[in-house]
Symmetry: C2
Subunit: 284 residues, 2 copies
């Protein structure tokens, strides 16, 4: 198999594949030689390729682990070298654009299936790669009418072998829901950090640090995601504003009971979500 | 000393006072007998009082640990029973209203100093009280022109003996800055949970859970804080909206570089804050 981009996710996939004792040779490609050397040294990859075409030559399974903004160029570069029947997937946080680009750019004899393993960290790079990054987390697959069903099944099996629970959504449904639950929270956290007065920051406690942890990510990575999903992000922000306006309208002593109920409902909803997530992670 | 309200904060103060081996008898008051019994059993208080007046009789130091919305009534109830020279403080998350109410309601022979120990949890109640809740955290004191300087020094010493770093701010400055760094994040987290589609919640990962942890608090407690600080909260929300609008304006492929820079600036600002906080907590 070939891993294109051996950063946090690509490196972790390599380590997880080794840890799951999958009988395959892992070829890695990255544009920095130092990263490839680290990936070789940690055992995340067995072999480093000098180019994208070389990396995928003869591979039956190819995973794009580069930033969302690089996918189009990556697909162009690997297309001529893909083997007959090669299954290609990715780990991007947005899915409409990569599914469209794959349909346009890949040869008919290759089978693309979009994946979004929902695991990661605000840390970046192969230095933070871990074999257990994916264990217990969810992976969304985004087949459409043209997706090869055997390829879909094999990509699902791959993520399941890494300990993930798989779910299917259409590319558009994925981009809409993930925007609400992941891209919007990032936009809010970054805005919350940006708007603070210098005098307020020293007063930050654990609550503020937790609430803004996701804003600690890499700017270029999130720029790609935000730009690619900007239509849904604008809609998510509008929904969010409506909820915030609802709360502001309750900031009235005459509506104190409604305000407490509204806050309790949010608190209970989050508690139920946390309980559900803990159950998923520890099924027994 | 007297602790009025032996929940998470009041109970933790009692335990911390014992842990610091302060030579004082702790009298606790709470409106539920079961809570007082638990506080007695855990050693958070030495004695349970049946009424507010009884709880403060003869005490040299009184701490209000009830919700912000109860302070006015508590001050009325304890006023006639306060000893000559008694120092009264509180642990409320808003400060203008309690400072005003104390000036209006307490006798001249008692000395009020507003405190806001910035420690806590989304958990509530004496069951979650811990002797080390305050260690390493910050306590803001909010003296004004009429505050007795000796009383201020003794309240500062008290929090420092519990391991806190103390800071002074005017009541209004406190309410404004704490609104930005604490009340606003709570409002955003609760709105973020409320606006989610049922289909999006199962896709939530660790990032979403962290970002919304603060929304897990008690509705009535936060209702009091939000209503008491509603003018500042409206202003904070407007500042936040301006930051979010700035981000939305950058969601344009033609401004991709600016967008990445804006996101990197937020990321760097949070990283610097985290480094500073870690240094404060582990000074060596």
């Amino acid at each position: 198999m070939s891993i294109i981009g051996v950063g946090l996710l690509g490196g972790s996939i390599g380590l997880a594949v080794k840890s799951a004792a999958m009988p395959c040779r892992v070829v890695g490609y990255g544009h920095r030689r130092s990263t490839l050397d680290k990936a070789l040294a940690s055992g995340a990859i067995d072999e480093a390729a000098d180019g994208l075409a070389e990396a995928v030559k003869g591979a039956d399974f190819v995973i794009l682990c580069t930033p969302v903004g690089s996918f189009r160029q990556n697909l162009k570069d690997i297309a001529p070298a893909l083997a007959e029947g090669a299954v290609v997937t990715d780990v991007g946080s947005t899915k409409r654009s990569v599914v469209r680009a794959a349909a346009e750019l890949l040869p008919k004899h290759a089978k693309f299936v979009g994946s979004h393993p929902m695991a990661g960290s605000e840390k970046r790079g192969v230095d933070f790669a871990r074999a257990d990054l994916f264990a217990g987390a969810r992976c969304i697959l985004t087949p459409d009418a043209s997706t090869d069903r055997d390829a879909l099944a094999s990509v699902e099996s791959f993520w399941q072998a890494l300990g993930m629970t798989t779910t299917r959504l259409s590319p558009d449904e994925h981009d809409r829901l993930v925007c609400d639950i992941s891209h919007l929270p990032h936009a809010l956290a970054a805005s919350l950090v940006s708007m603070q007065d210098d005098a307020a920051l020293p007063l930050a406690g654990k609550g503020f640090l937790d609430a803004t942890r996701i804003a600690g990510g890499d700017g270029a990575l999130w720029r790609d995601i935000f730009l690619d999903n900007r239509d849904h992000l604008a809609t998510s922000v509008n929904h969010f504003r409506a909820a915030l306006d609802e709360l502001l309208a309750l900031l009235d002593p005459a509506r104190a009971d409604e305000l407490a109920k509204w806050l309790d409902a949010a608190s209970a909803r989050r508690a139920a979500l946390l309980a559900q997530k803990l159950k998923e992670m520890n099924p027994d």
